[in-house]
Amino acid sequence: MSGPTPEVSAPSAIEVRELSKRYGSVQRGVLALDRVNLRVPHGTVFGLMGPNGAGKTTLIKVLTGISDITAGEASVAGFDVRRESMKVRARIGWVAAEVILDDDFSGWENLWLQSKLQNLNDWQERALDLLKYFSLDDRKDDKVSQYSTGMRKKLEIALALLHQPSVIFMDEPTIGLDVATRRMLWDIVTGIHKEFGVTVLLTTHYIEEADALCERIGIIDQGRIIAEGTPNELKARVRADLVVLETRNGFDPGLITPLPGVQEARPQGNEWTIRVASAEQFLPKLLQAVPPEEVRRISVEKPSLETVFLDLTGRRIGQEEPMRDIRRFYVQMRRARR
């Protein structure tokens, strides 16, 4: 079983119990989510942090009713996502990783369409308030194809808020954005959470984003929630410094493990992740023990969400397939220009 089992108490904004999602057959398919348990309290900004392919987007698809559940249960805003899908969808908002708007429509017409899809009657005042909040009111009649990326993202968030949802899902909301727009979006996420009292579940593989925005974080890897808590709680789990040693060739592990202060030493190829009580006290001993010509690189990491992930999985969040992210970024940019 992965992650902590939720206690039975007042319904949370999101509750997930033993949730599994498999794409394809049992023999050949992929288990994208593996018995996930999760509770997101009302009114929190909850971050789901993990590398590409960890299962973040799949979890959002399942919770928003886009994908079926293979096994387990999930409820959002107090309603079962499988049996009461329409009630769930009337109470959630969604902000996509890639900006998805109708480019043939103006900002106001996009809001009109959203009001129809959400079956709202008195939506105009709320829509105007949202446009003012996001400083889009003077451009509301322009086609969204003429908007900047930041403006499109803001409009997408306004669409997600139009029907006063209790939960908003944001799937990698800042992927592919420049630094300034990303910062702006962080302010918006914090702002809407305070202003509209909405629960936010966002996914990210940017550690600094999770750290800056989220009150609670679930770390997901290979379809399993491997840790959950506040950023400080997660960092406190490590209670150690990590020394990463890269050597030119493989060498006898017997050299490292007996050194004083070593809690654990994990090899991955020629790279060693060594958990020590204090990096400052350990490093001189390490340099005495390992032949200098063998050392290619040594780095020290103090407790951070990055080291939490490294400590839990032996890998870094952004370690694998960097090209995948770049391809995704270009796909997004092409779509944004259309």
């Binding site: 109708d102 369409l113 899809l117 899902f169």
Partner: protein
């Protein structure tokens, strides 16, 4: 459900009128048929014309109801393409993460693209008039003709949407169009009388909804006797295809 349907239906219509290229494509193709194919029998003598196309003053007059009928096939293709575009660009997800069902999406696409197809009627009628065809239809006959074409458009739009529901590939509507358009267009009364057809093609033409619509429209344009049961067949075709599409999209409409 009404609110969601109206939003998506209006979106379909507005998108067409804001995309001049799609509008142009919808109109130009049948116009070309009328101008080039319609003129191909321009040198027939009156006797030959009456032998091949009984009751018609020109081949264009005979062809117009047929071309309008076959052009409703392209309506289905454009409806499918618009659905695949929504899947590819993620808009289908945006719609479905609201209390909107897949069936409502299907209905809005089918009826939206069918309505779009009706734009062809005034354009084609005006073109035929420019080619010398004169009309003496009663308002009831005009209405019935439009209703017949609307039924045909709804039927084909629904059929295309049902077949392409599980697909996200741009090329699927084109492939499906080739499989459906050619046999249905030629094995029908849309361009010729069926008396010269081999028996197997006549068999197809007898149950082909394009024939019903072409014959009904032709009876109005040429002022010959009208078989009103054709309207019944076309209504049944539209309803059956709507039901098929409704059921298929609930189960197989792919989101992305």
């Amino acid at each position: 459900m009404r609110s969601q349907f109206w939003g998506l239906f209006v979106r379909e219509i507005l998108r067409t009128f804001r995309n001049p290229f799609v509008l142009l494509m919808t109109i130009v193709q049948p116009f070309m048929w009328l101008a080039f194919f319609g003129s191909s029998f321009g040198n027939l003598s009156k006797v030959e014309l009456q032998a091949l196309f009984p009751g018609a003053q020109s081949y264009i007059e005979f062809l117009l109801p047929g071309v309008l009928s076959t052009s409703m096939l392209s309506v289905g293709m454009f409806g499918s393409m618009s659905t695949i575009q929504d899947k590819r660009f993620g808009f289908m997800k945006r719609i479905l993460i609201t209390p909107t069902s897949k069936q409502v999406i299907f209905l809005s696409k089918a009826l939206g693209s069918a309505s779009r197809g009706l734009v062809q009627i005034p354009v084609m009628v005006a073109a035929a008039y420019a080619f010398g065809v004169r009309f003496s239809l009663t308002p009831m006959e005009w209405l019935t003709w439009v209703a017949a074409l609307l039924c045909l458009a709804i039927g084909f739009a629904s059929l295309f949407l049902a077949i392409t529901a599980p697909s996200t590939d741009w090329q699927t509507p084109g492939v499906v169009a080739n499989f459906i358009t050619m046999p249905l267009m030629f094995a029908s009364s849309s361009m010729f009388t069926t008396s010269q057809f081999p028996s197997w093609m006549q068999a197809i033409a007898r149950v082909n909804p394009i024939s019903f619509s072409a014959l009904l429209g032709r009876s109005f344009v040429l002022g010959t006797a009208t078989d009103w049961t054709y309207l019944g067949y076309l209504t049944a075709f539209a309803l059956a295809m709507l039901l098929l599409g409704y059921a298929v999209s609930a189960r197989w409409l792919k989101v992305e």
